[in-house]
């Protein structure tokens, strides 16, 4: 364990670490653009310079291995001057169009300019113009003027997603980030990560383009339900104090974007594009009306009807949702578990065009909590053919159940969150909440339990399934 000194303070380093890694691990900040903890060292931005005591020059710390007794200065005059000069170079042809840049507010270049440079450009030359809104893929736009050619995105596609979808073409100050002409980026299921790791506003998400200034948004910790990997994500929604009447109601409550939460060990700092598109799952048209044989009824009336069906059933089968949280699944087991033969339903199956499984993050089970459900109910198949012959009631919780394959003549109590044709075919239909409207926990495919919190309030007229289970088991009707 080499000991080195950073700005005079002794710190312990691991052999093989760079000065930058040791500094960051010990609370000393050194600025960096091109370096990324999960990617190879490129050493091209030159902003992470430090001075080794006794040397007259500054050198980059990301590629400087620690040696015993090394004495590092992170903020000497030499370092400060070199950093300022490097920022002058980086901003030389940068458009500084922060006013219309989605990255403003979370831009490394912006932060460093204020922290380490703070001066207007000393250049008198006109800026070199380059492409704006260059389409890298169907999902990502590139602003070549903002790009500082740090190559993080290129390295991501080579080292992580392995699509080799990006490269830098031409050379010198005419260098341009470009997508491979075989459109590999369009089939890179992890492509949107490059938007996050871009230290400037060069890579832009088409779905987030000009939708909101980031300082009006807040991240809400959540878990991606897209597959059994259960990547920790942040759902970005408008801060409550910035919800404006002048905006459409949807804009005040919708998921503006999804980013990785960066839980060590599960997904690292990456998520797949399906996770980016959680709005496509969560913001489908919602079921907001309780139904009895397809006819709208008061919620309480529907609950009473459902409770009666449960009470009258001789042989009741439940298809529980593996999108249910551990709390909801436990509520079902505690309240209704003894009355039902329980099968775990796989709410979502792989969609056509969706990768089933890979050796990076994506798992074949497209549901977030199969492991949690199995832990409570065992791994029984949900195939209707295996239902007991005398089944007379099926409680279906969640999507993905084909009613035509249920035994003929059974009564159906259906709990679902989305507006779907099956809703009207149930004897009783009860609308329920979705993940982003309640807190809970999922157990992912590797047995890791993770929490999510409510990002928005549930719409009126829907109930948390956990509450409903209590209501169905109770002798009194509990209002929704």
């Amino acid at each position: 364990m080499p000991e080195i000194f950073i700005d005079g303070h002794p710190v312990q380093a691991e052999p093989g670490q760079s000065v930058l890694q040791v500094a960051l691990a010990n609370g000393f900040y050194i600025p960096y653009f091109c370096w990324h903890p999960a990617l190879s060292v490129a050493g091209n931005c030159r902003i992470c310079c430090v001075q080794v005591e006794g040397r007259s020059w500054a050198e980059i710390s990301c590629n400087l291995p620690v040696t015993e007794g090394m004495r590092i200065l992170t903020d000497s005059d030499v370092v400060r001057e070199q950093r300022r000069a490097t920022l002058q170079f980086i901003t030389l042809n940068h458009p500084v169009d922060c006013g219309i840049c989605d990255k403003a507010g979370e831009c490394t270049l912006q932060d460093y300019h204020y922290a380490y440079n703070g001066r207007p450009s000393i250049s008198l030359e006109p800026k070199v113009r380059a492409d704006k809104f260059h389409a890298l893929s169907g999902r990502i736009l590139l602003d070549n003027e903002r790009c500082i050619l740090c190559s993080r995105c290129v390295r991501f596609t080579r080292e992580k997603s392995k699509s080799h979808a990006l490269g830098i073409k031409r050379r010198g100050d005419e260098s341009l980030l470009r997508a491979a002409e075989d459109h590999a980026l369009d089939t890179d299921w992890y492509s949107d990560n490059i938007i996050d790791i871009c230290p400037v506003g060069a890579l832009l998400s088409r779905s987030f383009l000009y939708k909101a200034r980031v300082w009006y948004l807040q991240p809400v910790p959540s878990v991606c339900p897209g597959c059994a990997r259960g990547c920790a994500v942040d759902l970005w929604v408008r801060k409550p104090q910035w919800r404006l009447k002048s905006l459409a109601a949807k804009q005040n409550t919708s998921i503006m974007r999804v980013t990785p939460h960066g839980t060590p060990g599960i997904d690292g700092p990456w998520i797949c594009n399906k996770g980016r598109d959680l709005a496509r799952i969560f913001e489908r048209p919602r079921a907001l009306q309780a139904l009895r044989k397809g006819q709208p009824v008061e919620y309480g009336v529907a609950v009473v009807a459902a409770r009666k069906l449960v009470a009258d059933a001789k042989r009741a089968v439940a298809l529980v949702s593996n999108w249910g949280s551990n709390e909801q699944l436990t509520a079902f087991r505690d309240r209704l578990g003894t009355r039902f033969t329980v099968y775990i339903k796989h709410d979502h199956m792989p969609q056509s065009g969706e990768p089933v499984e890979d050796d990076f993050l994506i798992r074949a089970d497209k549901n977030p909590n199969t492991a949690g459900a199995v832990a409570l109910f065992g791994a029984r198949s949900d195939r209707a053919a295996e239902f007991p012959a005398d089944t007379d009631l099926v409680l279906v919780w969640g999507e993905g159940c084909d009613f035509t394959r249920l035994p003929r003549g059974v009564k159906i109590v259906f709990l679902n969150a989305y507006l779907q044709p099956e809703n009207g075919h149930a004897d009783v239909f009860l609308p329920v909440t979705i993940q982003m409207e309640r807190p809970g926990h999922y157990t992912n495919g590797d047995g890791v339990v993770q929490a999510f919190v409510a990002a928005v309030a549930p719409p009126p007229g829907v109930a948390d399934a956990a509450t409903l289970f209590a209501a169905l088991a109770a002798s009194e009707v509990i209002p929704a």
């Binding site: 980059i60 070199q82 980086i90 000393i122 008198l124 030359e125 031409r170 010198g172 100050d173 005419e174």
Partner: protein, 432 residues
Amino acid sequence: MPGKQLLMTFPVTATSHTLDDYRCRDGYATLERVLRQQTCEDVTREVTAAGLLGHGGAAFPAGRKWSVVNLNDGQPHYLCANADEGEPGTFKDRWILENAPHRLLESMLIAAYALQVRHCFVYIRGEFDLPYRRLAAAIEEAYAAGYCGERILGTDFACDIVAYRGAGSYVCGEASGLLSSLEGKRGYPRNRPPRLTVQGLYRRPTVVNNVETLANVTGIVANGADWYRSFGTPKSPGTQLVSISGHIARPGVYEVEYGYPLTKFVYEDCGGLTGAAALKALIPGGISTKVLTGAECEGVTYDHQSLAAAGSSVGSGGMIAIAEGTCMVRLLQVMLRFYHHESCGQCTPCREGTGWMHRIIDRIVAGRGRPGDVESLLEISRRNDGTTICGMGDAAGYATVGILAKFRDEFDYWIEHGRSRLMGKLEVGIDA
């Protein structure tokens, strides 16, 4: 000839580059003796003792570079001859490739034996067509004669040599950029550490030596370190192939023994300047070495120490003589255009700085210079010195700082009056 010769020891004829002619000059006799009688260590020891310096620009001792390679690490090692001669004003390695390709090959085989290399490469710049054809033909001759391939000269030593052509990129002359190119990629130079002798081509230990450096190995191994040290000066042993061009009466490639008087070389061996003009300035070793004024050349001897004392260096041996009357502003403009054109664009200071400097000097030449422009050029140069991945950023700065330090008045005049004091002339003695 300027002193004694090591390499240009035979008359160049229509056939002097062929194997037959090379054999008449004792060709491949040294290789045979080494393979039969010497160990790897013997060779490296001799090269180290000879004090052979790199002839490509950085003058790094070849023996020291070689000795970093761990012969017992159980992994492949590679040897690469750097024939990407791209430093403007330099065309000396071209002479070896065109006239003595077998000398290079024999030296490479000896070096490969010393470094336990199975595969050697000659990375030759893409524009060199005749040199490539001569080299490729020599390689085929060597294979046919059993000097290359399996069981060389009946011994267990096996070695392949590939001539690999670049495709137009100055930074591929930098050793790590060269290896990136040799891996079939853009010629992006690499950060050190790791050193190339630790992780080079495909992350294996790789020795990259200049063509002329390697070409000297045969002579050193054949005749011994003491013999080599009898050439040149104690600290700069041997000779340097110097290519001289510009306003010079007899341009071409000369073999200059280190320690030879610089002005004697220019005025006597090369016939002085075109039209007997006065020497305004001399670029001693490619445009990336700092320019010397005519006065500064007085008393300088052609060796590493004397040129360093004068504020410049041997560089790549590409000497450019500049006659009185030449406009140094236009000269620097041509240089900065070149650096801008050749920056690979990988790291920030060089990518942005070379273009910035080019635009500033273009503006000065267009008559729109402003006070402070010279200071900006100096500041950008300073911020490129030692801050880039490879030496190209430094090089652009050296060229700029060298000229600005000595000919600043020409820049100030152009900025103040909007025109050149010397009518922007690069040619002299011609009424253009």
